[in-house]
């Protein structure tokens, strides 16, 4: 299929790549706008271009997802556009649009707006390409395209020490993890002689020399390390709390939702396509993911329980949720694989909205300058009932109570663990979810039950931020019936991957 535009550009047959191309063009447009009016505060125009571009990409990806679920490979198999990549593109572009909408108010008074939007869209482009990467080298390049803008975005508040510090740590740990990832790729290449995921699987299926199992194993575990960095899983999570805390709150939402989802799409793609468990007998990566999932969700939850600042609590809760999503890979025993992978994808979709929404609420609080600690949120509901209602919805959905889509996706994950007899993971999921109810309830209690902080007045109600928070809340709630009634995770996953 060729449409006239791609034909005219000599891009015949690249139609499946339109969502990614749209994002790339949007980034260039943002730069162009900033080139033409560099000294003016063209915030609104920049935000409009960004939102329009990401929504256009979202629409195209959504339409492709519904219309043609067949996979298309491009560039001699270097890229693949299938159900899974489109599904994740939908997540990335929705989060990008929400973040851009909220940023319009957040960065209105700050310099370098053109760079800000351009970097956000470039990171989204990288993530979208990562979702389509079908070879280890394209995966690495898109991973870097997604990561490098993120480092700069965390440091956007240049005069803020926390922002610069978080960014530097993110950069250093990111560099180390990229090195580990790349080294892993080289070892896998050494064993299999190819970088394409499908061909790796073919080579491994045919059987490799027994003495090479160790090299392959080290390679696989190192690739796992790269994935763990991107998903902020223990022990590659050290950057996350500080980067999330220091970053501008919309960026924290972007990183903890979209960037994390990008890490997971990489994990699903690489491990399920290139290293099927049947082919790599000596390398039990499922066990490694199980251990990571257990440690990550437990450490994230327990650390979140003891935080005193809301934003940092959300940062650790984001680590815990990475642990939940890791269940999708850590419980693969063959009994309910499709259900598990589909449940993981659904969880990331829901999480994209509820977690971004929660961070956007923090952005709102930062705009109001009401402080970061739990006490500072006391009685906020009396002054900002709409925003606090939305925040409460995000939190109960994060906790997995049946007021938002988070309940359904967690339920599917739990069902998957039970069906695949991974009772340890099931127990950890239940215990940590129970504990997380307490954690999130602290914020709700502060907002609704405690007496308001005396002397606090909220002067402005920024429209864009409010709109973004409300949209995220509405989608979070709608996903509850949406997922419960109309989605079948196994079907989703098999359309996407198997």
């Amino acid at each position: 299929m060729t449409d006239p535009v791609s034909a005219a550009l000599g891009l015949g047959g690249y139609q499946p790549l339109v969502p990614a191309l749209l994002l790339g063009v949007t980034a260039l447009l943002v730069l162009l706008v900033d080139t033409i009016w560099p000294n003016e505060q063209s915030n609104t125009l920049l935000a409009t271009v960004t939102i329009a571009g990401s929504l256009a990409s979202l629409l195209v990806a959504g339409a492709q997802l519904f219309l043609s679920p067949e996979a298309a490979t491009l560039f001699d198999g270097q890229l693949i556009v299938d159900g899974m990549s489109l599904f994740f593109t939908v997540i990335f572009t929705s989060v990008t649009a929400l973040v851009a909408l909220a940023s319009h108010d957040y960065i209105a008074e700050r310099p370098n707006q053109g760079e800000y939007y351009a970097l956000v869209v470039l990171a989204a482009t990288g993530m979208t390409l990562l979702a389509s990467a079908n070879s280890l080298v394209t995966a690495f390049v898109s991973l870097e395209l997604a990561s490098l803008p993120s480092y700069a975005l965390v440091a956007y508040l240049k005069d803020n020490r926390g922002s610069a510090e978080g960014s530097l740590k993110y950069l250093l740990i990111g560099g180390l993890s990229s090195a580990v990832f790349l080294y892993g790729i080289s070892l896998v290449y050494a064993v299999t002689g190819t970088l394409k995921l499908t061909e790796i699987a073919t080579v491994l299926d045919a059987g490799i020399d027994g003495s090479l199992t160790g090299v392959l194993g080290i390679g696989i575990v190192m690739i796992l390390g790269g994935v763990a960095f991107k998903t902020a899983s223990v022990p590659f999570h050290f950057w996350a709390p500080e980067a999330y805390e220091g970053a501008p709150a919309p960026i924290a939402g972007f990183l903890s939702s979209a960037s994390k989802a990008a890490g997971f799409v990489l994990a699903f793609r690489v491990f399920l396509t290139a290293f099927p468990t049947s082919a790599v007998a000596g390398v039990d990566w499922v066990l490694a993911f199980e251990v990571l999932a257990l440690i990550t969700m437990t450490l994230g939850t327990f650390a979140a329980a003891t935080q005193e600042e809301v934003k940092r609590m959300l940062a650790y809760s984001s680590i815990a949720h990475a642990g939940y999503a890791l269940i999708a890979l850590g419980a693969l025993t063959g009994a309910a694989d499709r259900l598990l992978v589909g449940a993981g994808m659904l969880h990331l979709l829901v999480y994209g909205f509820m977690n971004t929404g929660a961070f956007l609420f923090i952005a709102l609080a930062e705009q109001w300058g009401i402080g970061r600690r739990f006490e500072d949120f006391n009685g906020l509901a009396k002054e900002a009932p709409v925003a606090c209602t939305a925040m409460s919805l995000f939190l109960v959905s994060l906790a997995g109570l049946p007021f938002g889509g988070g309940f359904v996706s967690k339920y599917f994950l739990l069902l998957g663990t039970v069906l695949s007899s991974s009772y340890l993971l099931a127990a950890a999921l239940i215990v940590n979810s129970a504990l997380s109810v307490y954690i999130y309830a602290r914020v709700i209690k502060a907002m609704w039950i405690e007496d308001p902080v005396p002397g606090r007045t909220i002067e402005e109600y920024p429209t864009g931020l409010y709109a973004a928070v409300v949209v995220a809340a509405v989608v979070t709630v709608l996903l509850l019936p949406g997922l419960a009634l109309f989605t079948d995770p196994a079907q989703l996953a098999s359309n996407a991957l198997f």
Partner: protein
């Protein structure tokens, strides 16, 4: 063909619509939502009648798949569907009839008495009917469980209708918690059945088999797709059956989970009628009948059901003897009567159990509505010792109530006689082979005497003798909307027993066991013959051969006992000014009056045992969990402090920890995978 079965979902949907209407628009409507409810349940009733005749003409069960909640084919999917067969068609008829009459009665009981909050009342009542009808139509155990829970929720809402007083909210909570305790076991049972069979369907459709059929195959040889988790299939099925029975015992108020039911009398009387006759309590017994093909496979479960049923029948009947309030007497009679149904089902008398469920629904609804009428007449005083002589003032109520009482006591030819006689006869036939069933039968038989006694004690104290208070001399009169349901039910209470006159059939040789024939049709795995086959061939439960002498002897014995009970009541209480003879019982009365201290020991269990366990858990939580949490918190706080102090040092620490973590992972994986 757009036959009546196509409209089957509407039977449940109509009350749901009226629920929504009453909830949102009830306050603007002339009768506060009552008319919507009456229209809806009336429509449901018509549809149910139509469905009934369609099933009669068709014979085959009707199944319909509505929606798939979770369609994971492996290992199981969760679905919503409809199953209309002989059993559910009959039950739909009962439920819609009673609901309709209760709605009409409520016009008099609630509207005319000027109660407030009526939209809430009618919304609750509609939702109750909707839940129960959906439960009855459920095509699988999972869906049944969902609506079983919804029924429980509705009972909670309605028992606690007068939530501003002290007693109703606490009674509502008690009903909810006690039945929920049983439902825990039910839930485990549902999960267990799904995990075992991969389906919870009551009937096989399109290539898949129902779980009772799979269980039967497992026992008779080909145990293919059945996971019994290492147990012997027979043992495991018994465990599952007993787990589900937990929910049944909670809802159907069987010993020891019956304690919520007498307290539930705090709700409005029409609600009590609905709970006792058609919805909540009936749900438990109906569930056993619905999956009878499964219970029939486990002789142990059957024996337990029969024994618990017989024991409950006697136990509750003795407690009913001493109660002062009219509704309390009826509450204990309900427990007792459901004991009979369980006894019948446990003793292999499927038809007998369902027969008694049917007749009981009619006469118990009648008695409750009659009691409601008496209570309205007495200006909401329920104490029977303040009544007396009401039969002259309230003739309609008296004669209908008398018909219901005769049915309850089991006096020929009223409906209760036929069904109770068949229950006892089935138990006796099995009891002659097995001492456990004999004991259950004996308890049921003795309970007949007590039933006759307390029923007519109630009748005589309420309606006969001299009025004992001023109110009883000139009671409040009420309108047609309360009398009409009484008359309808009164007529039915007399005749409904005629649908299955087994003794008469035996005696005259005529074909009078219509209900029995009714259940001989339907899906081949849902007929009474199939159940009989399962009982005899798979479970090895054998009845003694039926003979005319045995049947008549049994009938005469139970009738004699019932008449004896009535006679004793007549002697003691049918006098102008009766005394409190129960005082003569001395300390036994105290024990009976306190319901054998059931509440006390359960409260003791809750407080003495559960509270201590909770306290221990709290200590564990405070000490170990919070300790761990605080420990992690101090560690992370300590690390956080260090982060702020030594900025450059920490990233290297991170890098070091990260690398160490990776190395540990590598080494562990290598050792496990044998790379070195």
């Amino acid at each position: 063909m757009a036959g009546p079965l196509e409209f089957a979902p509407a039977i449940a949907a109509l009350p749901f619509v009226s629920f929504v209407i009453a909830l949102f628009f009830g306050r603007y409507m002339p009768k506060k939502g009552a008319l919507a409810g009456i229209t809806a349940t009336g429509g449901s009733l018509l549809l149910a009648v139509w469905t009934y005749f369609a099933v009669m003409g068709n014979g085959e069960p009707h199944t319909e798949h509505l929606h798939t909640l979770v369609s994971v084919a492996e290992p199981f999917s969760l679905e919503l569907g409809i199953l209309i067969d002989q059993l559910s068609a009959l039950m739909l008829l009962i439920v819609t009839l009673i609901s309709f009459l209760v709605f009409v009665f409520s016009l008099g009981y609630m509207n005319d008495e000027g109660e407030t909050g009526l939209p809430r009342y009618y919304a609750g009542l509609s939702l109750f009917s909707f839940s129960m009808l959906s439960f009855v139509m459920a095509s699988n155990l999972f869906m049944a469980f969902m609506f079983f829970e919804l029924v429980g929720l509705c009972s909670y809402l309605l028992i606690g209708f007068w939530f501003r007083e002290d007693a109703p909210p606490s009674a509502a909570k008690k009903a909810f918690i006690v039945t929920r305790f049983g439902d825990y076991f039910f839930l485990i049972g549902v999960v267990g059945i799904l995990a075992t069979f991969g389906t919870s369907a009551f009937i096989g459709t399109g290539g898949t088999e129902s779980f009772p059929a799979l269980a039967e195959h497992a026992l008779t040889g080909s145990a293919d797709h059945v996971h019994t988790f290492g147990f012997d299939p027979q043992t495991w099925f018994t465990i599952l059956a007993l787990l589900v029975l937990g929910g049944v015992m909670g809802k159907s108020a069987q010993f020891p989970l019956h304690t919520w039911l007498p307290d539930a009398m705090e709700g409005p009387t029409p609600v009590s009628a609905l709970i006792h006759a058609a919805t909540m309590v009936a749900a438990g017994v109906y569930l056993v009948a619905r999956m009878y093909g499964f219970y029939a496979l486990s002789p142990t479960a059957l024996a337990i059901i029969a024994f618990v049923g017989g024991f409950t029948a006697l136990f509750a009947a003795t407690m009913g003897v001493v109660k002062r309030e009219i509704k309390q007497v009826l509450a204990y009679s309900t427990i007792s009567q459901y004991g009979y149904m369980m006894l019948a089902l446990g003793a292999g008398g499927y038809v007998a159990g369902v027969f008694h469920l049917t007749t009981h629904a009619v006469f118990k609804a009648l008695l409750f509505l009659g009691a409601g009428a008496v209570i309205v007449a007495m200006h909401h005083d329920e104490d029977m010792w303040k009544m007396g002589g009401l039969k002259n003032e309230l003739p309609v109520t008296y004669y209908t109530f008398l018909a219901g009482s005769l049915a309850l006591a089991g006096i020929i030819p009223f409906s209760g006689f036929w069904s109770k006689d068949e229950v006892l006869y089935e138990a006796l036939r099995l009891g002659l082979n097995d001492p456990v069933f004999m004991a259950a039968y004996a308890m049921g038989l003795i309970a007949v005497f007590f039933t006759g006694f307390y029923t007519f004690r109630m009748v005589f104290l309420t309606f006969h003798g001299e009025p004992r208070t001023n109110i009883a001399e000139s009671p409040h009169q009420y309108g047609w909307n309360m009398k009409a349901p009484l008359v309808v039910l009164g007529a039915l209470a007399v005749v409904v027993g005629l649908i299955n006159m087994a003794p008469l059939a035996k005696l005259t040789g005529m074909d009078l066991t219509y209900l029995h024939h009714w259940f001989e049709h339907g899906g081949e795995l849902l007929t009474v013959e199939h159940y009989h086959h399962l009982l005899t061939e798979v479970s090895g439960v054998h009845h003694v051969e039926s003979s005319t002498g045995l049947m008549l002897g049994s009938g005469a014995l139970s009738l004699g006992l019932a008449l004896a009970g009535v006679a004793v009541a007549h002697v003691l209480y049918n006098v102008p000014s009766p005394e409190e003879h129960t005082d003569k019982l001395g300390s036994i009365k105290t024990v009976l009056f306190n319901n054998y201290y059931q509440d006390e020991y359960q409260v003791w269990l809750a407080e003495g045992l559960t509270a201590n366990v909770a306290r221990a858990a709290n200590t564990f939580d405070q000490g170990v969990i919070d300790g761990a949490v605080n420990g992690v918190s101090s560690v992370s706080l300590f690390a956080g402090e260090r982060v702020r102090k030594v900025q450059t040092g920490v990233v290297t620490n991170y890098a070091a920890l990260l690398t160490a973590g990776l190395v540990v992972l590598l080494v562990a994986m290598g050792l496990l995978g044998g790379w070195f």
